[in-house]
Symmetry: C2
Subunit: 248 residues, 2 copies
DNA sequence: ATTGGTCCCATGGTCCGACCAATTTCCCCC
DNA sequence: GGGGGAAATTGGTCGGACCATGGGACCAAT
């Protein structure tokens, strides 16, 4: 209990969200030009500097392109956007089957990226100890009945330790955003940690593999991950459970 | 010839780059606090609004975290950053072996993500025609001896067509940034399209596979991709070629 | 010695108004 | 009808001001 309170939404974020959902929902077509900054500022009832910051956010998310003298135009986020758009997209998708389809593809991608990491670990592995202690900490967090947010945080920490073992920043930079997305989608997160004992077992399996680092055993670890992923997707497809989740 | 000229760097971008390289080079340690906006503005000799926009850019790249009243602190980009940092990192790495290591991991990740896409295509494929025409266009661009930038653009267009065939936006959102990174690293890009005929052959192989969509033949397509990737990395390891590249 | 309250200052967030620079629009003139 | 250039539009930068939050110093009560 008494976990971190959500930070107050700032004016910029409010404006940014309004425009973001308009784009993600398709209310604004690709190539369409947005109203001028001055117009947007007046319509939102905020200062031009404020709406400018919001527009900068969307531009950095590749939702908009901008040219001086020309204006802001809507880009094709399906072809140019990044994984950071997924939480917003999931929010719009609702809790029906759309979300489970989305989660299925996301976990598919995550699984294959994990395989890439394991291949690299198999070649040049560093400290297994770091990973092991991270797993221990994860188990400790689970057993003391911490919140879902804390469990997810400890889970990501293990992943970071594994990535450190690759001694290459590249894999981490590719995987970080996708790993982060999971923690920002409450329904998916709850489904993934529905039974944390399974997660612990999966991590223990990985640690065991890291002792040998046999390439021909990578499939075993990934297969176990796939089994859990499929169960997660199945849970999401049934819609949210009502009885549990006394604490998140 | 006569390709797109680089857009003039704006004041904001100049400030952003200065601070970005300071972080990526490690001149600023993780957790360290940046000088206040007002101080930075004075030091850069720009307005506070300008330096604020630059800071916002770095924040959206997860290089900084910010809290009102507290200030900006440097985050651990290796654990929280995204693939958009790779071009800047490659620029700092120089042309020695570091770059080839970086490319090796990047291509490894890209290959595994491609495998995920093929698995999804194998399940529910859409138009093969779109992909075929995109490949034709790629061949046309190559045969007319276009610039490297145009070739890369046509290459990414094929990828987009394949992603459309999955009928799922998720895979695209995960893969787009990584595909984009390649086009932003000149040395890597030149090495990848050193012999465009190979690229064409690879795409033709993929198109052929999409006719059957047999899961057991995915490995064939990926293996061919891996062969080319390894050659690319080998080229980068030898350092830049001097004689060719009459046009980029 | 510890706890809680109060104040002050540094810092980011927002606002206003103005001017600069790139782009587009459109009208005038040939 | 076409070309050219002025004018309007739009994003980029600037200066200064005020508000809201964070953090530390200081003090008072327990």
């Amino acid at each position: 209990m008494f976990e971190r309170v959500a930070p107050r939404v700032t004016t910029v974020d409010a404006c940014a969200k309004a425009m973001r959902v308009a784009i993600l929902r398709g209310d604004l077509r690709v190539g369409e030009r947005l109203p001028a900054e001055r117009v947007l500022a007046e319509r939102f009832g905020v200062n031009r500097v404020t709406v400018r910051s919001a527009l900068a956010k969307l531009s950095s998310s590749r939702l908009l392109s901008v040219r001086q003298g020309s204006g802001y135009v809507v880009r094709d986020f399906r072809r140019e956007g990044g994984p950071d758009l997924l939480p917003g997209l999931a929010e719009l998708a609702g809790t029906n089957g759309h979300l489970s389809r989305l989660a299925r593809d996301l976990l598919l991608m995550r699984r294959h990226m994990a395989r890439a990491v394991l291949e690299r670990v198999a070649e040049e592995a560093g400290d297994t100890d770091e990973v092991r202690t991270a797993v221990d900490r994860f188990e400790e967090v689970v057993t003391r009945g911490a919140s879902m947010a804390e469990i997810a945080e400890a889970d990501v920490a293990i992943l970071s330790a594994v990535l450190d073992a690759t001694r290459s920043p590249v894999l981490g930079l590719c995987l970080n955003p996708i790993a982060d997305v999971v923690t920002q989608m409450p329904e998916l997160r709850d489904a993934m940690y529905r039974n944390p004992q399974e997660n612990i077992a999966g991590w223990r399996l990985l640690v065991g593999w890291m002792e040998t680092r046999r390439r021909d055993l990578i499939d075993t670890v990934i297969a176990e991950l796939e089994r859990r992923d499929e169960e997660t997707v199945r849970l999401l497809g049934r819609g949210p459970e009502k009885q549990s989740s006394n604490e998140r």
